[in-house]
């Protein structure tokens, strides 16, 4: 009996401990129930000042260099009018990116006294819709796929930033293309659904510079030169390309990037835009031709490391690794600039690896650049949230991130000198000089296609379970009816 009583006693103590733990957690940091910014219905001026979560840095931090934006709330914020307020942010970046984001807004937080509370989630795409539908949205959310934001904008959940921002400043600090891409159809007419905060370039072909130079391969300037080089490498006994499209539930997306690159290089921008809007079907000759150009490289076992099975079964992040073995097993890898974080540790940009621009195919379409990026959208309308959104329209909001690497700035006032990484500076420069810039088409398409049938169709085609015509028809079939 005694033993049993103590046994019963144990869970009781545990329960009390755990509840105490929960209670303590609540008092040490702002508990969710009292976090003022969480309830959109609450008054804009919360009474409780948030505890600083980060210890202020004792080192000298230069003041935020933002001036002349003509943005009313931002100027007020910099004057300290909104000190003590909290702005919640929600986005998909976690780990190192989260640290870099927090560091990049630290100066702004210090100067204005606005506390930007960022939470990252691997399940951002699903969670944001649930939270918005349930009436519990964050103040600002970071969308890596404009298509998803488009759905929310159409439902009238997103605040039109053009209603309060200084449009002269926006036109001055963004290329028109970025502003166009931020304009989406709202519940009644077009709205500016957010501001572009970061982007990454996709039209890079990475190569192992050291081995490349030793082997004496040239940098191809045209598609034909690139195909000749591919054949040359095959003749030398290696496969030229490292390609992998496995990515869990998103398997197939690197293939869609290739399609978009080739589309931009083989047909007009007008056709590309029509294609992303669903007006040019996948079964059209333009799209089919792009797939065939891709097939010439992808389906040739002498050109691709691991062949077709290798493409489908290799994790996209692991696919460039054979490039850095000694000697390399494959020599070229087309991917966005974020791929460098997957490269083996200790490799130096410009020494061990470098990139060249994926060459044009048809000279009449010039040198287009494919990009993807993150747009920040606003869900609650309070002056301090406006101020933070206005801050994100300045290059200064990214300065620390650019220096630390891992982001490119879409802002005109971001200097190329700010980049800490030569490779990223080169990408940014190339995008600035590109004849045209287009956004990742699959991210623009509705998610049924852009994050569904397009991925799946390409994967099926590469795996060999369906032929090209069937695959393209299947992709078209998933397009939502208007």
């Amino acid at each position: 009996m005694q033993v049993k009583r103590t046994l019963w006693f144990l869970p009781a103590v545990l329960l009390i401990l755990a509840m105490a733990l929960a209670a303590c957690g609540g008092s040490a940091t702002p508990a969710p129930t009292q976090a003022p910014a969480e309830q959109p219905t609450q008054a804009p001026e919360p009474t409780k000042a948030p505890e600083p979560t980060k210890a202020p840095e004792p080192t000298m931090v230069p003041a935020v260099e933002v001036s002349g934006t003509g943005q009313p709330e931002l100027d007020k914020a910099l004057a300290g009018d909104y000190a003590g307020t909290v702005v919640t942010m929600f986005g998909p970046f976690t780990g190192p990116d989260e640290v870099k984001f927090n560091e990049s807004v630290a100066e702004f937080e210090k100067q204005t006294g606005i506390d930007i509370q960022y939470t990252g989630s691997k399940e951002f795409e699903t969670t944001i819709s649930v939270r918005v539908d349930a009436g519990d949205p964050p103040d600002i959310a970071d969308f890596p796929q404009p298509g998803l934001l488009g759905n929310l904008a159409k439902a009238g959940k997103v605040i039109d930033v053009s209603t309060y921002m200084n449009m002269d400043w926006l036109h001055k600090n963004y290329k028109q293309a970025w502003l166009d891409m931020a304009t989406m159809s709202g519940s009644s007419g077009d709205i500016m659904a957010g501001v572009w905060a970061r982007f990454n370039g996709k039209s890079q072909v990475w190569y192992p510079k050291k081995a490349w130079d030793e082997a004496g391969y040239p940098i191809p300037k045209t598609w034909d030169e690139m195909m000749a080089l591919t054949q040359q490498i095959a003749d030398d006994g290696d496969t030229a390309w490292c390609i992998g499209i496995e990515s869990g539930t998103a398997t197939g997306w690197p293939a869609t990037d290739w399609m978009e690159e080739i589309m931009l290089r083989t047909t007009s921008l007008d056709n590309y835009d029509k294609w992303t809007r669903g007006e040019l079907p996948f079964t059209s000759p333009e799209v089919k031709h792009a797939a065939e150009v891709m097939t010439d490289i992808w389906f040739n076992p002498d050109y691709v490391f691991g062949g077709r099975e290798g493409i489908v079964s290799t994790f996209f992040g692991d696919s460039p690794a054979p490039m850095f073995e000694d000697p390399p097993k494959c020599w070229m890898h087309k991917q966005g600039n974020f791929i460098t974080s997957f490269f083996p540790e200790g490799l130096q940009a410009g020494v061990d690896y470098d990139f060249f621009y994926l060459p044009p195919i048809d000279p009449q379409y010039g040198k287009p650049y494919l990009v993807a990026g993150d747009i920040y959208a606003q869900f609650t309308d309070r002056p301090e949230v406006r101020a933070v959104m206005e801050y994100f329209t300045t290059g200064a909001s990214l300065k620390t991130w650019l220096a630390s690497g891992g982001a490119l700035s879409p802002h005109n006032d971001a200097s190329l000198d700010w980049y800490g990484d030569d490779v990223e500076r080169k990408v940014a420069e190339m995008v600035q000089q590109a004849d045209s810039v287009r956004f990742d088409g699959s991210d623009l398409m509705p998610s049924e296609v852009g994050a569904g049938s397009f991925w799946k169709g390409m994967t099926d085609y590469v795996a060999g379970t369906v032929d090209l015509d069937t695959a393209l028809a299947e992709i078209d079939a998933a397009w939502p009816h208007k």
Binding site: G95, P96, G216, G317, P328
Partner: protein, 369 residues
Amino acid sequence: MSVKIGSTRRQRRTSSLLVNSVLILLVLIWSIPTFGLLVSSFRTKEDIQSSGWWKMLPHREWVQVEEFKTKDLDPNSVMTIEGVSGTFKEFRAGVESPDGTRVRWVGNKRRGRIQVEKRQWTMRDDFTLENYNEVLLGGSVNIKRADGTVKAVHGEDLSDAFLNSLAVSVPATIIPILIAAFAAYGFAWMKFPGRRALFILVIAMLVVPLQIALVPILRDYVKLDLNGTFLAVWLAHTGFGLALATYLLFNYISSLPRDILESAFIDGASHFTIFIRLILPLSVPALASFAIFQFLWVWNDYLVALIFIGEKKEVKVLTMRLADLVGSRGSDWHLLTAGAFVSMILPLAVFFGLQRYFVRGLLAGSVKG
């Protein structure tokens, strides 16, 4: 007679041998991947990518003994290297010589080298604790300040998430058991109208998948301002776990000998006294085994926590932190190996702590006596 006994004994021995070997096979099938994961958790990302974990065990492999440049060789014709001859393609695959060595051309025609290899016993022993270090203490990120200084900023460590998981799991285990024990006693030993109908209703709840309740409950929580609190997830887990708990405990409690309870009644004990002094102590095995089930379920739960607690740092549970470990684009997948073992520690401790009740409890309700 004696012959017959002997043959039954032999029969018994062969059948137990069969059973044992099947069991051993099953145990191996289950534990080998786990062991591989454990080995991988001590390896660097590059090692995991380039070779299997079993290379850590002693095995025979071609090991390079000599290497030289490919000068004076024409890869476009038949070559003779180290006494063996072949074409470029053959040398790329490796040409074996009669004395047991293998000559291999590594690399392409332009940047090749010749490797002479011998088959040897070998094992890799380059283990690292770096994965655990990064999981437990958070990886460090170099931040370059505008003034040119570089600062190493540490990511979050695991301790907050671990405590949060504990703060979720323990109440979410104990609350449903307590309520279910009361309910099971009521259904088993108290007579009231509609008892049967109520019980059937509770059992019917077993077949309702919790996923369909997520959005309605979330809406209510938002209205009640409960979303994102521990209370929200305690209540959710309590609700989801209650049906099974009631059913399991009912089966056990209803099978307790009637005589004990009747004598208690005759001595004037109330229902509450009987429950506290008799039922609870007697059903410890059933309670403990359900506690293991519920604890493991809540500890490993991702979905319910994701919906009702969310990702805020103050309340984020371990499973969500683990998912975040891989980074925005999944570049740190190798950390999951170490993360998995860290998150396994507590469930293992709970299991081994309560396991002597486990077998007894599993039989709860299934063998009525």
